[in-house]
Symmetry: D2
Subunit: 350 residues, 4 copies
Amino acid sequence: KEYLTTFFAATHPKYSTSVFRFTKEPTHVAVPYVWKYKLAKERLLELAEILPPEEAERRNINFVNPGLKQYFPAIAAATLPTLRGGIQMLKPGERAYTHRHTANAFRFVLESPSEGAYTIVEGHKLPMRPGDVILTPNWTWHDHHNEGSSYAIWFDGLDVITAYWLGGVFYQDFGDVNVDKYQKIENTNEDVMAKYLGVKPTFETLPSHLPSSDNPLFYYPYSLIRNSLVRLAGKGKGDPYYGIELEYINPTNGSPAFPTMSLKIRLIRGKDELKPIRRTENRIFIVFEGSGTFEIEGQKYVVEPYDVIAIPSWKKYSIRNDSNENLIVFSYSDEPVFKALGFMREKKEE
Amino acid sequence: KEYLTTFFAATHPKYSTSVFRFTKEPTHVAVPYVWKYKLAKERLLELAEILPPEEAERRNINFVNPGLKQYFPAIAAATLPTLRGGIQMLKPGERAYTHRHTANAFRFVLESPSEGAYTIVEGHKLPMRPGDVILTPNWTWHDHHNEGSSYAIWFDGLDVITAYWLGGVFYQDFGDVNVDKYQKIENTNEDVMAKYLGVKPTFETLPSHLPSSDNPLFYYPYSLIRNSLVRLAGKGKGDPYYGIELEYINPTNGSPAFPTMSLKIRLIRGKDELKPIRRTENRIFIVFEGSGTFEIEGQKYVVEPYDVIAIPSWKKYSIRNDSNENLIVFSYSDEPVFKALGFMREKKEE
Amino acid sequence: KEYLTTFFAATHPKYSTSVFRFTKEPTHVAVPYVWKYKLAKERLLELAEILPPEEAERRNINFVNPGLKQYFPAIAAATLPTLRGGIQMLKPGERAYTHRHTANAFRFVLESPSEGAYTIVEGHKLPMRPGDVILTPNWTWHDHHNEGSSYAIWFDGLDVITAYWLGGVFYQDFGDVNVDKYQKIENTNEDVMAKYLGVKPTFETLPSHLPSSDNPLFYYPYSLIRNSLVRLAGKGKGDPYYGIELEYINPTNGSPAFPTMSLKIRLIRGKDELKPIRRTENRIFIVFEGSGTFEIEGQKYVVEPYDVIAIPSWKKYSIRNDSNENLIVFSYSDEPVFKALGFMREKKEE
Amino acid sequence: KEYLTTFFAATHPKYSTSVFRFTKEPTHVAVPYVWKYKLAKERLLELAEILPPEEAERRNINFVNPGLKQYFPAIAAATLPTLRGGIQMLKPGERAYTHRHTANAFRFVLESPSEGAYTIVEGHKLPMRPGDVILTPNWTWHDHHNEGSSYAIWFDGLDVITAYWLGGVFYQDFGDVNVDKYQKIENTNEDVMAKYLGVKPTFETLPSHLPSSDNPLFYYPYSLIRNSLVRLAGKGKGDPYYGIELEYINPTNGSPAFPTMSLKIRLIRGKDELKPIRRTENRIFIVFEGSGTFEIEGQKYVVEPYDVIAIPSWKKYSIRNDSNENLIVFSYSDEPVFKALGFMREKKEE
Ligand SMILES: [Fe+2]
Ligand SMILES: [Fe+2]
Ligand SMILES: [Fe+2]
Ligand SMILES: [Fe+2]
């Protein structure tokens, strides 16, 4: 084997196994897809039956892009070329060991008890109430707990496909470098919000074991976010393409929540319809409140709470709120990667 | 007149009018100084008697540095080489015309009625409650109103000395470019906080008539800030030199509140004493809660609420809380200028 | 098909097709590999026989990573997970049509006539002399010409694997949007160097059709670069791990030559040996002068001019100069991507 | 003395010493002024007679703004509010002690022997040939030498007025912290250009005693700069307001040469005339080749080589080349300060 090839294959059989042509516009083997929460949750409940409690942290169902399934068999389950999404469940009384990894991750809580479910990130106890967003940035110690009286289900979003594909995955168990298997609680969500909403402390910074690009806020309560959306909705319908949309930002630099992932939440008022758009980013939406219709490249998908919609680069899509109530959709995408590398483009359609 | 000079003056009388020598450490004609609020307020109340209502916006008392008074006679009243500070009063029923200027300014409210005093910044109605900080950044339309039942007094902080000295002052009255003399109210402090605390809107940005470096948050309520300070004070005494100190930040970039001024607030717990420090910045402190002692280059100053303390570059100072209650001091400085120009240094003393 | 999976596969056959585990350190299906120039050139000369002149621009031989061949069959020939490399030949009298693409590319000239081979980038005629580096950044019009008396062979380096994998590939032929198929020459390498070495023009910037992140210098002559390396070699052996290494920079911001690729050149003095290192980046070396030995994870590879060495993320490697002459190796890597996303790490070994 | 004042002075004699009003456009006590080189050189030659050799480093003539002379008597001779300029002479055989200061400075060489005059900056021996620009950034050790056969005269440009006014001046003699009074020569201008023109070394950075904002290039030879200007002049007349203008940049970040000063050089072709403009910056021009006319706020000044022109903020000015030869003017300004602080504006007039 010589491990040499050429793009020209037509007249020379020796090289015929490999053909690459630039395309006029982005194309990818990943495809648009919609996963219904009802089915995914059913599968998750099945796992809850067959997995023992000590494997609680592996009790998750991942959304696999039909177009990527065949190309990354030995690599990872990819929802879009750079991103993975899944849902995870913790039953009452369960907890998962403390660990950390370079892949950035966040939790967007779907169903949870009113009290008792929480994640600890770098010693901060952060509640997991429906709609809350909890970040576990690059190399932060984290573990999940459910001391409530009913199960907790959340959406896990990760850039692990990016991290793995580049070759940037490091992993560590807390117990490997500490006596205990669990980190201690030293602060709360109130503490971290006190330090980073509108202000920053001059007397302390991120622990030195963390990358300086990490977001120290860790926590965005839905109560705060929802209030913002509803207040803004009282002012108008927002942008014709974006609706009323807020991005979760890293307060220390005004950048996206992660260097690899942009997290946003969008409210579309009753009966409103957004205009179609194409963006080079790969984006995953999760419906949180209300119901509506996504139209992607001419195909319509009716969606309801916690359904997951994957939109690969440059696919034309629009969103319509079919009801009279607000439609609220959360999303995450690799937009920061496109911007950092100079590949971000968008095209507004009519 | 030739308008030529030389540094060498000893042996040549022709050039003897001008001598300049580099100094080993920063020196300046500005001096440390403390102004007592009691006296300044007395003068302000006098002005309230003699000035007619239509001159309400000029009813202010400025703090003039004894060392600078002689050098800038025709220029401006400077509290420190780059900064001006003063107190202003609005009696019930008064208001000031809408205007804007390139000089950045902020209001730190000292005494005000529980309801009715407010500033409008770019159409946002922002309450003026004790301890609130209201920004009027570069070229933002603003006006003040008191519809309450008692007078309102606030501290005005400006970078106008910098702006004037560089040659960057532009000014405009709203009435000169609009039919009305007052801007309209279209939003509130709740709206602007909904858009910029932890998030940012993707569907709108600053109006294009504003510099991109402007801070769009405009408002920091004391209720939020004080809660943060007290919460952090429950964790420990903070930094030995800084105490428990928070900087008000521009949420769109994590930078200081203004490109020219850093606004900070510091809590020193009962009986705590901070270690002495020198910093190249020029810094003005305003006591807000509690009482204590500033020691500046060996001289002690006992201070109480609303007293103003000016500390020029590189003067050694420390702060001690003499009581058992929290001491809370607000401050502003030209630290961002020092950082942008490469001149920031500090020296921690014992 | 449900397109759902779980990481837990051991006890539940339904999900057994997909397993993903975090690894303690980076691992990838890409492998270290060395391609000998002698063989690649032989294949290129074969193509020169069988391809007609009008297909000159497709006459290239690409270096395919043995580990990636099976995973990206329908995608692209990848040398490393983010990068592609190949060699291309233009016979005397040949030229390639003007086109542009969002994927960034550069040419590192290996063998060429003393005069007559050149690339035109955005109207700038840039000579292709051995060792010269010519950039064709994101969306810049470019075409290659050989008006010399012998063939020209150069190395093509591209981030096309990144661009394709993200979904960011746009492509355009000049003839599709212009009357002519070729752009006109309006400037030379001397012009662009006059504008960007140590200075920048205040009266013109990049054409607005280009991304602002593009590097406007386009050209780095080997005469300049080699002189720098040799001069520095006269001062010492440089860094124990890096040797005497220069990075080609975008002069408008001091950043790497491309937002996606860092281009560097390294001189190792006669008989010197660099210490082993691991870096998360994916890096491809091309030997340009001298000969030596690469040791990668314990495996030794003797290399000589124009051999190509691929080193995936985190593989331990070192370089030794076996001769008394200078060893000069050019390289490109995805280091800027790792830095932008927060994944850059390195580990110096003994 | 209470050191309190108010802006309202008309009706209250107590406060009548201080009046400040915002102006619609920038105004300053600094005035436009032109100093003829012939006269300044005459004064410098006089000093050469009366000053002993050991005071060689103080043998300089400074340009004092008529409007600032009265306001900064005890402070410093200011050419414009932020900048100082002067000319300095070193006779054959003279040298000046090694020292450093936080104020940034540069030398623009006017008259010098063909060989033998040089400045040493951080161990780099940099020739002083006519038109060469030599930087001595913040806290860099430097000393000047003339081993040539005739005197050397250069223009000194400094931000010392800024540094002093802020309170950021630190100074040190080499002899105070070293055994010797002179630093050693370890590198040349060729070395530093080899490291920073188009490239940057990966194996070494600025010494840690220097601020990270320092420009490491230190040297811009006129031979390189003039070649660039003339080459670009062959392409056209450049911008209607700026002519053919190049800015000297810090190659590590593409920023101005100093964080406090922008250095530019401009060629106006024979008989060309630039359109009038206003800019908020304070700018000093030095004529280097050719002759022409500056028109500043309606007043015309005929200028010839080495004449110095000071233009304060927002003064309307234009430049006309009266001859058939190129007119080349060097300039420095505080534009980076205006940009950093958000005060930069310009207005193009007809
Ligand atoms: Fe995890
Ligand atoms: Fe004002
Ligand atoms: Fe191409
Ligand atoms: Fe000096």
